[in-house]
Symmetry: C2
Subunit: 206 residues, 2 copies
C-alpha cells in the first residue's frame, strides 16, 4: 500500500466521523459529493483519497456507509484499542482527559500524571492523578502505546525521556517546545496556534 | 504566489515557533537541518517549503533567523492582529481562552459567549462571559475576524448562522459536527481525535 500523506489521514478521519453520524441516522449509502460537502473538500478529492486503498463507490449509488467506515477504521489502525497515558493535569490536559471522542475511537486513557502535590491523588474523569516521579516504574509494569504530553515547556523533555525509557511507541506533544526522541518513537507536535494560523493564512491570501 | 498546501502552512507555523525560540536564545542563523530536526521533517522538505516564497539560505551559513521569521509571519498573515470571539465556555473553550500562544501571535480573544446563566456574567481570563443571545447584535457593533466555536454539537449550526449573519470571516469549529456556511466564510474543523488517529495510523503502518 502507498504511504498516505498526513493531510489524507486527516481527511479520512473526518470522513469516518461523518460516516458514523450517517450510520447513526440510518443511512446505508453516501455519495462522494456528500462526503466532500461535509468535509469541506471536493468530490474529486474524496474519490482520490478513497482510491488510495481501493475503495470505489458505485456510480449513482455512492459508497456503502458501513463498508467504507470499516475500511477507513482498518486503514487508520482503529480496528484495535490503544492504551494512552496523559502527562500534565493542567487546562489542556483536563480538556483532553474528558474528551469523549477519544474513548469512542479506542483510545483509552489509562492514567494521568502530574508533579503538583495538590493534584496527585485526586480523581479526574474517574482516573487517579498519579505522581509523575512514578511514571517510568509504572510503564514497566503497564506498557502503553501512546502518551499525550501536556506539560509546561520546561518539563516536557524530561517527561519524554522517561516515556521513551518506558517503551512508549508514540507521543502527542502539546507542550510548546520541540522535543527529542529516538527515530523509532513517533512524535507528533500539536500547536493550537497553528490551527488559527491556517485561518489567518487563508484570510490574508483569499 | 503559488497556493500553499495546509501541510506546508502547518510546517511554516512550526518553523516560526522554532525561529522565535532561537531568536530568544540569541541565535542569528539557523540551518535547514536544524529546522528539519526540530520540525520532525527533512532538510530537503524545509528547503522546498521555504523556496515557495523565495527564501534561500546561504550555503554553510543557513537562514537569517530574524529575516526568515519576518517572511513566515508575512506569509501566514501574522503581520497584523485579528479580533477573535470564542463561543462556548466549556472545557475546550476554557483551555483555549487561557492559551497564551494565541495573543502572542496576534489573535486577540475579545469576547466569550455561552448560553448557561451560571456562566454568563462571570469572568474568564479577564473576559466577561456574555449571553450568546446577544452575539449577533454585538457583532454588528464590534465586527470580528475569526470565531472559535466550542459548543456542543447540537448548538453549533445555530451559532454559526449568527456568526455568518454578523459578518465573521473565518470559523474554527471544535464542535463534533459538520457545519454549513457560505463559501465566502472560511471554515476549519478541528477534531482532537484526528491528532491521535495520525498516530494510530503511523503505529499500524510502520
Amino acid at each position: 500500500m502507498r504511504k498516505i500523506s498526513e493531510s489524507t489521514v486527516r481527511r479520512l478521519s473526518l470522513y469516518l466521523r461523518f460516516l458514523e453520524q450517517s450510520q447513526g441516522q440510518g443511512l446505508t449509502t453516501i455519495s462522494s459529493g456528500e462526503l466532500a460537502r461535509r468535509g469541506g473538500t471536493t468530490s474529486a478529492q474524496v474519490r482520490k483519497d478513497l482510491s488510495f486503498f481501493g475503495s470505489f463507490g458505485k456510480r449513482g449509488l455512492g459508497y456503502s456507509v458501513p463498508e467504507l467506515a470499516t475500511q477507513i477504521r482498518d486503514i487508520l489502525g482503529l480496528d484495535r484499542s490503544y492504551r494512552v497515558v496523559l502527562v500534565g493535569a493542567g487546562r489542556i490536559g483536563g480538556a483532553l482527559a474528558q474528551y469523549e471522542g477519544f474513548r469512542r475511537r479506542g483510545f483509552d486513557i489509562t492514567a494521568i500524571y502530574d508533579c503538583d502535590p495538590r493534584k496527585i491523588g485526586t480523581r479526574w474523569s474517574g482516573l487517579l492523578v498519579r505522581d509523575v516521579r512514578k511514571l517510568q516504574a509504572d510503564l514497566k509494569k503497564e506498557p502503553i502505546d501512546i502518551a499525550i504530553v501536556a506539560t509546561p515547556a520546561e518539563a516536557a523533555q524530561e517527561v519524554v525521556n522517561q516515556l521513551v525509557a518506558g517503551g512508549v511507541g508514540a507521543i502527542l506533544n502539546f507542550a510548546p517546545v520541540a522535543i527529542d526522541a529516538p527515530a523509532a518513537v513517533i512524535v507528533k507536535h500539536v500547536n493550537m496556534a497553528a490551527e488559527l494560523e491556517t485561518l489567518s493564512y487563508a484570510l490574508a491570501n483569499r
